[in-house]
Symmetry: D2
Subunit: 359 residues, 4 copies
């Protein structure tokens, strides 16, 4: 079987493994106090054009989200998130276990707007007893979103203004950040994110590393004592170098963006084949995740060879799936898949379009 169901089916990019082997016997301090972590942090700060930022390395997305939000929020404060936000749907209540309410907003293609956020804040502060509901304090977004879509710079700037007006932190989950930065049409850079966010992270796990997320904190209020939060939640590795080595490899000569771009290119080929086959999509993604809606019979045939994620049943004849590419996706596999897609759809005499309303 060939896996297209996620972007973490393989190990790490070979250069990472080589670097691990090369440096294996160098003795370093523990807990992230080592030259590799320092170098990786330095590279990231440079590329973010944010010399005052602090960079910390964590193991995974849920860990990063819960630690960052613990730092952003007092116990009575909430985080605003799209209802489809990873923290709301895929982390087993990690944020609530940290004590915080997740204030969800309806999303459009995984995104929320500055206006929606402003309305939540207005409603809170105009209440007769604001203290009877959690106080909004942080906005959580994903870039790209869980649907592979992207905020424009203008949208993020508008959200930043609402955050400033309402004394909110802006936190961007970049578990798949590279895929967004290298997507066609994207107008956001690392430096933009550093300028717009109080804190965000650069995902390594899903873009070529064995594991690891690099948390970039630009707001000094959140920098203070951040390592206590990391330690208390089990987020400091004794051999922190493992993360430093990976991120310095990914960032020393553009490997990170290169890997992401490869995945996007592969996804674009699949997207094009789906379009040619007449399939519609749950939403229009330009990144490595594509969400076409397939007739169940075609899907069944493809699943003899390929693994996809099922997202939801659209009607009794159609299913929305996720097709995911990665740094490791082989062009020959994509070629084969797209050929089959086109071939199978041609065999069908009717249109595969469905009129569906996202619930």
């Amino acid at each position: 079987m060939i896996r297209f169901n996620c972007d973490y089916s393989e190990g790490a990019h070979p250069r990472i493994l080589e670097k691990l082997a090369q440096t294996n016997f160098e003795q370093t301090g523990g807990y992230g106090n080592d030259p590799f972590c320092r170098q990786a942090a330095e590279l990231i700060k440079q590329q973010c054009k944010a010399p005052q930022a602090e960079v910390h390395f964590l193991c995974g997305g849920t860990q990063a989200n819960l630690i960052v939000l613990a730092a952003c929020l007092r116990p009575y404060q909430s985080v605003i998130s799209p209802v489809s936000g990873h923290i709301n749907v895929h982390e087993a209540g990690a944020i609530e276990a940290t004590g915080h309410h997740v204030e969800t907003l309806p999303e459009t293609d995984g995104k929320i707007t500055a206006d929606q956020i402003a309305r939540v804040c207005k409603a809170h502060w105009e209440d007769e007893n604001p203290e009877f509901s959690p106080q909004p304090k942080t906005v959580y977004l994903s870039f790209p979103t869980e649907y592979g879509t992207l905020y424009t710079k203008e949208e993020l700037q508008a959200i930043r203004r609402v955050c400033d007006d309402n004394n909110l932190f802006l936190f961007i989950d970049g578990a798949r950040l590279g895929y967004g930065l290298t997507a066609p049409g994207n107008d956001i850079t690392l430096a933009d994110l550093a300028a717009l966010c109080d804190v965000f992270y650069i995902g390594g796990t899903k873009i070529g590393a064995l594991l690891g997320e690099a948390v970039v904190i630009t707001n000094p209020k959140l920098q203070k004592d951040f390592r206590y939060f990391m330690k208390q939640r089990g987020g400091i590795l004794a051999k922190g170098r493992l993360l430093g080595i990976q991120f310095s490899t990914l960032f020393e000569d553009g490997l990170y963006l290169e890997l992401a771009k490869h995945a996007n290119d592969m996804a674009a080929l699949i997207k094009k084949a789906c379009q040619e086959a007449g399939f519609v999509f749950l939403c229009d993604s330009s990144t490595n995740q594509q969400f076409p809606i397939l007739p169940n019979d075609i899907l069944a045939e493809l699943e003899q060879t390929y693994v996809f994620s099922h997202i939801k049943s659209i009607d009794h004849k159609h299913t929305a799936i996720r097709i995911c590419t990665s740094w490791a996706t082989r062009p020959e596999d994509v070629e084969q898949l797209t050929a089959e897609l086109v071939k199978l759809s041609k065999g069908k005499n009717a249109t595969h379009r469905v009129s569906f309303i996202k619930q």
Copy 2:
């Protein structure tokens, strides 16, 4: 500088890196649902002679401790720990952040006794209002302890009986388990631990892995829903294979114990040299951590070349240090260190013995 300050100064045993490279492009499921994790779990269960056990892989000791204790305790229940227990002194309040009181007991060389535990339980249940103090529910021990010392089988059996009598779980932190299992004089096996504990873990980070702790759960009550706890605390890696590959390498042909034994052997040479030099020890350890008390002038000379951990100032002329060996400790470095130890101590005309009382 040559580091003897901890057992996590290098990367991983080369065979682990090789296995990572060999398997790098095999596609697997995520989140620990992969053949490597299954194989590693199987090997561990076999070596524990515990076919009904469940084995889960986590990233580090603090993470393992807080997740296991979240599973062991209801909100009003406490964990009994030696005052020197890692959860009490070195985890930034991780257990309290999970909501639980740590009930500390005075330790002797890092160890507590069955009698002490029994007295805590008796005092709780005989109180007029037991519900006014946290209810003891779990015993936390380290094997080896933070002082490198070991419980005997008889001691653990006595503790198990007290646990049975008082409806307590027994949880053993094995961050350095291999060093204990292979220590001279030790009479505990993996199978003993599986039979005596409700849950324990086998530390990889400090014995040759890049990172990783294998949690072995023998009590079905704790097996139930354990992965929810893991996920909620950020303890499930997307590329769980990273842990499975390492533990299968460590356990498929005895590498784990071999690495531990090497470190113990190296430590024994250092211990012998210290004894010959006339130094006393904070406590008598047979594992990879040695706690000699050195005259400050000798210590200063050694620290031109070697890095040690300072444990505490004994008096204005003596300091207790920790000397730590590992799988990666080179015999030639030990030879050089022991030679210097003996040489430096001979240059001194007075005894280096101190009469000290552990506070």
Copy 3:
């Protein structure tokens, strides 16, 4: 000003104050270990026909909700609640601060259905990785709801069956329970609640007491160690007798239901007047809370004399308000209000009906 905005504007029913004065110098044990608490618990168990139940007294609704849910849930488990449930909208994130996700369902007139609950459970357990989202474990309902509406016995029985099928606890918030039990058309009794719920509470604060909620626990699993939860969350009063005296007064000869019926009768008069005036309601309530939609000009006139709660602006000419009666509502005040309502509405030439859609 005459207050119709809530049911806690006055002190306590005079018989409660008399009983406090009469018993004031009797010495009793503390922390709820006193004859008054025992008597109150006994009366409640009898009237619930639940001799095996345990009854505990707490200070208020938020406290009761967070303590009961702490007892019902493990850290990774969630409580299902209507989106309008008090725990979701009016408790400052108390449940999340206790570590738990509130799984909200769309409500109709404040109510949710057995089918909705079943679908949540099905979706959870059919997920490929159930452990990636909080596990549903308890259903939270209010009786009456926050909109003053009532579940029928048939509806509760259906919910009970879904709870049994899915291993869920059923917890009913009875902060205004008496108003429901004595409402016209209600077919639920205290004994029904005790038979259907695992735990529920009988609100005193809003029905004649100074403060106090009587938690009735019928499920032995939740009875175990419940006082630890109470103590740990600050829910045990040193002078627990204060609660015991009040509940024994309310339950020794039917005072509780008598007070509730009075409030319902007063509310029915107001409801009738609103109907005669041609006003529509947010929902059809037969209890002490009425939610009419008033033209803003009429509302402004009434608010010269009366205090109401504003619920929401319907359009730029109409506002939904809450009119609330209580044990202390004076018939002459209701007579005056209803007369004014009718008079003011007659002065208007147009209909006051609005077509509105609940958001």
Copy 4:
């Protein structure tokens, strides 16, 4: 039986009950937004000479402690407490359930010193990795202590200086504050406490109220958003007036101190009788709690008539007890008790002194 085991065996001072009855039908706003709470807060601020302070009313000591400490601490911060502090021994782990480590210090007669606190802070900040242990942020003291003893003004000033030097909040638990303020030899006033502490509370439950603690917050950092903490932990009563009425009664004409002084006077008579009888004390208290060590045979005879609290067994012939007086203690009961104490001790031919070392 005549109870001398605690200071909460009766209801409330009759003037409180009268005031409740007089004001019963006055309609007020809920949740502490009422004239009674405002008046009580005003009286307390005046008597504290702290016009900028904020005063909030809570139900009990555990609730006050956990809410205040939630406001004082970030998740990784700890509270320093004497090992005998109420939060450490008598609150079922309430502080840990709020997520915080309690850093305990050995106490002398229930008290800790400025030096001890300074040493804890020094040790923390001088550690190589401070973030590996909880960061000290608040000092918790009781005045009087759990042993009835008092800090002098000089001692509190020294502690304040250490708090300033180390950026710590000073929080004083005044569950029995009045007994301290009116004790012979005490040199602390309400105004001193307001000047020295960041936050403290004035206990009503144990000095004449049905329930209630008045939290006085002088530090603006802690004032901000305090009501969110109260609401989230179930600490806002719908009928907040119940607390306002009681505290305005206690503070409008000196009743609070008068009641406390009565109890102290009664305790002094008992202390004197114990001394005359030759009994030693666990510690020297000048407040309403006395801790004499009685021969078991005398104790057994007294316990035919009186109820005391047993504190601990000193040896097989002696027991330390707590004798507690209150606002409601009747002089005739004290007279009878003291007479019996003296009489019983005269009947014994040997000394009752014991040489005991507090553990």
